[in-house]
C-alpha cells in the first residue's frame, strides 16, 4: 500500500481495529512515515479512551428500582403491560385483538418438555427407545406417528451426539423426545409436540425448576430444547437447533 492509497476510512478502521492483521500492519508501517496522520490516529485513540473512562462507570451503577421492578413483573402485570403498550401505540383493532389472543394462549410445551426430560434423562439402561445408531429408522418412525416430518438436528459441532429418541403421549396425542449426550455424560432433550393448535410462536425461553427450556412453535410442530448445562450454552445449542429446523 502506498501513502496515496491510505484513505481516511482506513485510518478509522485502523483505530477501531476493524482491519485484518495484514492491513493493520500495512497501515501501521505507513503511519510511521506520515506524522500528521499518525497524530490523528493517536488523537482518535485518546478520544476512545476518554469516552470509555467518562461512561464506563455507568456499567457499575446499581439499576434503578423501576428497571428491576419491571424485570420482576408477574405474568398478570405483564399482560397489562402488553395490552397498554398495544393501545398506546394506537395499533389497529384487529392487530390488537390478535396480540391479545397470543398472550392468552400459553403453550404447555415448555412444561411438558421439562417433565419428559426429568423422567428419562436419569435413565441409565433405557434412556431411549430407539438409539441414535438407527437414526434413519427413528426419524421415519416418529414422523409416521406424529403425522409430520420430524428431524433430529445435529449438535456434534457443540459436542453433543444423538443418543436416540422415543415416542411419548401428551394430552392424548403423540409427541416425541430426542436425547443428546456430550463426552461428560451431560444430557439434553429436544421435545417435539403436535399439540400446538396451529399457532406460531417465535423463539422463547422458560425456566422450569433447574432446567432452561428454549421453545418455539411453527404451526404444525412445537419444539422445546431442555437442559441444565447453563443458560448461555443452552441458548447457543437452541440457536443451532432452531436454525437447522427452521432454515
Amino acid at each position: 500500500m502506498s501513502p496515496e492509497q491510505l484513505r481516511e476510512a482506513d485510518l478509522h478502521a485502523y483505530v477501531d481495529r476493524q482491519l485484518d492483521a495484514r492491513r493493520m500492519d500495512e497501515v501501521r508501517e505507513l503511519l510511521a512515515t506520515m506524522p500528521e496522520l499518525a497524530r490523528a490516529a493517536q488523537a482518535y485513540d485518546a478520544q476512545k479512551l476518554a469516552v470509555h473512562s467518562a461512561f464506563d462507570p455507568v456499567l457499575q451503577e446499581p439499576l434503578p428500582a423501576r428497571f428491576v421492578h419491571r424485570a420482576a413483573a408477574a405474568p398478570g402485570s405483564r399482560w397489562i403491560v402488553v395490552a397498554i403498550g398495544c393501545l398506546a401505540l394506537g395499533m389497529a383493532l384487529g392487530w390488537w385483538a390478535r396480540g391479545e389472543r397470543a398472550v392468552d394462549w400459553r403453550p404447555q410445551i415448555a412444561h411438558q418438555a421439562a417433565i419428559a426430560h426429568a423422567v428419562y434423562v436419569p435413565e441409565v439402561r433405557h434412556p431411549v427407545e430407539v438409539t441414535g445408531n438407527e437414526e434413519a429408522h427413528l426419524v421415519r418412525w416418529l414422523s409416521k406417528r406424529l403425522g409430520a416430518s420430524v428431524r433430529a438436528p445435529r449438535l456434534t459441532s457443540l459436542g453433543y451426539e444423538l443418543l436416540g429418541g422415543r415416542l411419548l403421549p401428551e394430552q392424548g396425542r403423540p409427541s416425541a423426545q430426542f436425547m443428546y449426550q456430550d463426552a461428560n455424560g451431560r444430557r439434553l432433550t429436544l421435545y417435539v409436540s403436535t399439540d400446538v393448535q396451529n399457532r406460531e410462536t417465535a423463539f422463547r425461553y422458560a425456566r422450569e425448576g433447574d432446567l432452561h427450556v428454549f421453545y418455539w412453535i411453527d404451526r404444525t410442530l412445537g419444539y422445546a430444547l431442555a437442559g441444565d448445562v447453563g443458560k448461555d450454552q443452552m441458548l447457543r445449542l437452541a440457536r443451532v437447533v432452531y436454525e437447522q429446523l427452521n432454515p
Binding site: D16, Q47, V51, F55, A71, V81, G85, C86, R239
Partner: protein, 169 residues
C-alpha cells in the same frame, strides 16, 4: 425470572451507558432505557434467535430517541430538516453546563447523527456493519459520519472550539 429478562437483563447496563452518553443527562437516559425495554417487551415475539439481541435493542433505542428528538423539535423550531438542527435543539438546554475539555460536553455539541455513530463505535465497540444496520444507513455513511465526528471532537478537545462555543450560546 421470565425468558425476556433472562435474555435482555445482561444488556441493560450497556443500553444505560450508551443512553447516558447519547443524552448527556442521567434521568433522561434512564427514561430512554425504560422506553426501550418496554418497546422491546412488546416486540419480543418478533425477535428471532438468528437476530443478534444487542443490535436489535440498540435499534429500538435509536428509533425511540430520534422520534423523541423530532417531536421535541417540532415544538421548539418551525422547521427541522437536518441532523444538525435536531442536535442543536437538544444542545440549547445544555449549553449552560458546557465546559471545553469535558468529553461529555463536547459530545453534546456534536450533531446527533454523528454522535450516535461515534458512540456506537467508540463506546459500544460495534463494527461498522452493525452500526449501519442499527441506524439504517449505508456503510459509507457510517465511516464518513465517524470521520466528521472525530475531526470535530478533536478540534473541540484541542481547544479550537472555545470561540465557537460562545457563538452557539
Amino acid at each position: 425470572m421470565s425468558r425476556f429478562d433472562a435474555l435482555i437483563g445482561t444488556h441493560i447496563p450497556h443500553l444505560r451507558r450508551y443512553a447516558r452518553a447519547l443524552t448527556g443527562d442521567a434521568a433522561r437516559a434512564d427514561d430512554l432505557v425504560q422506553d426501550t425495554l418496554e418497546r422491546a417487551w412488546i416486540k419480543f415475539h418478533l425477535w428471532k434467535p438468528t437476530l443478534e439481541l444487542r443490535p436489535w435493542l440498540f435499534t429500538i433505542m435509536h428509533n425511540i430517541y430520534v422520534n423523541q428528538i423530532r417531536a421535541a423539535a417540532r415544538h421548539d423550531l418551525s422547521a427541522v430538516s437536518t441532523g444538525e438542527d435536531i442536535a442543536q435543539s437538544v444542545r440549547a438546554n445544555q449549553s449552560d453546563m458546557l465546559e471545553v475539555g469535558d468529553i461529555a460536553a463536547c459530545l453534546s455539541r456534536l450533531p446527533l447523527d454523528q454522535r450516535e455513530v461515534l458512540l456506537l463505535v467508540s463506546l459500544e465497540d460495534m463494527n461498522y456493519a452493525q452500526v449501519a444496520r442499527i441506524l439504517s444507513i449505508p456503510l459509507g455513511t457510517v465511516t464518513s459520519r465517524l470521520a466528521r465526528a472525530r475531526a470535530r471532537l478533536r478540534a473541540m478537545l484541542d481547544g479550537d472550539a472555545a470561540a465557537s462555543l460562545k457563538v452557539i450560546k
